[in-house]
Amino acid sequence: MIGEGRIVVVGASLAGLRAAETLREQGFAGSLTLVGEEPHPPYDRPPLSKQVLLGRVRAQDVALPSRSAVDARWKLGVRAGGVDPIEKRVILADGEQLAYDRLLIATGTRARPWPNADEARLDGVLTLRTNDDAARLAERLDAGPRRVLVIGAGFIGSEIASACRELGLDVTVAERGPSPLVGALGGTLGTFAGKLQRAHGVDLRCGVTVTALKGRNGRLTGAEFSDGGRIDADVAVVALGAVRNTEWLDGSGLAAGPRGVACDAGCRAFDMYGIVTDDVFVAGDVARFPHPLFEYQMLSLEHWGNAVAQAEVAAHNMISPGPRRRPHLTVPAFWSSQFGLNIKSVGVPTFSDQVVIAQGSLREGRFVAVYGYRGRVTAAVSVNRAKWLEHYQYLIETAAPFPPAPGAADRPGSFDPVPSDVPSPQLLSHGPTVALTGHLPDRHLTLVRHELSPTAAHCR
């Protein structure tokens, strides 16, 4: 299948959009349908925890620009409920069935909800993933709450706390791990981030969990912590990380589970037996894929740049014959801005045993931290030093020795690598934004009978 046929894309956000554009740009002339559960056309999520909360941009105004015209049928506000891989059909919640020759799964993630459903229903308890979520939260912050509680100090939680402080709001951040961002960036930068938050007036409480959200007449009034502490708060943002949207694939026979949909380096989905399919592709936050730079560990990334790059590779491979297919080898990269700092990362900081401040200094708040694993460079994170990062990306791509030679213009005070102290994800409130999932098989396979096909597998 090169120029014609039927392609269905499920998930009409960043990855789905860029894949659709790439398909048309590369000459796909068949029928193209995009299915999206949200009623909105594709929009950009990163501003939702930044410009939007600061009141500079309205949550409705973050639509993504199109890169090229896409001739496609859009089914928005409709959820895909299942896939029949034998008949090659996507079954929609409104009853329609969409036949495909090639399917792209780009269903991303959603915010992990507060585990206690009664408490989660209290007025004032929110999560942040969609533009509707952001509109609600921005409105709450604009109303001037007395105190905001942020549960979980990953990137999104930390960015929310930063916006609150910038708006002059009192904010408490509760994190089960030893410091903010530690799950993504390890101990040295986690400690830095903790000091940064406190210096900006955040009431930061690490090593505690929120044991209860308290309410009166259906409204949130405060929270209790595992250390016996309690606070009053009228807004609580649950920032416990993301859940991959794979439930709709239950029973499809695909290797889909809580860690995402497993695929090969060419974005082709695996089935439950680890056999690669040739008509089902995966891209974006929902994908779980092997990366040669990281010992072929399966990576699950929640990064804007990965969604774009992987969507382009998936789209290309969907309409290309075998020898023309490309691997998705992009070095992972993301950014965050919080407390006035620009944080950028290349590589996989959690794939490390040591870290060194290679340029600048933590004290100045301008530096590059370089991460190594078994003697080679695997990641670098810059704080207000974005221009230096490209060099380290080259070191990662070429598997350069760690620690890197301290040849830079400004030498740090000490150039001794220290353990990178990446904690087990179990110790964190928020999920990691990069999960190394290679050593942790999701579930045990059991063979069962199945209506769709006698060979489909279910999992427990």
């Binding site: 410009q51 309205r58 620009p65 620009n342």
Partner: protein, 69 residues
Amino acid sequence: MQIVVDLNRCQSYAQCVFLAPQVFELHGEEALMFRPSVPDDQHERVRRAEAACPVQAILVGEPAGLGAS
């Protein structure tokens, strides 16, 4: 007109900030913030910023999925 900046690529050169300060601003030393929805009177300036960006990080286009149902 909508825009998005690939902030992995952006190196905070700030050319866009000089050319269209109502749309692009530096937050702190080097974190770029932009208005995704460009006001009508800023189109020309944003086009110039797009062309001037040394790393071509600015994507300008019509809202994606226009006319989608």
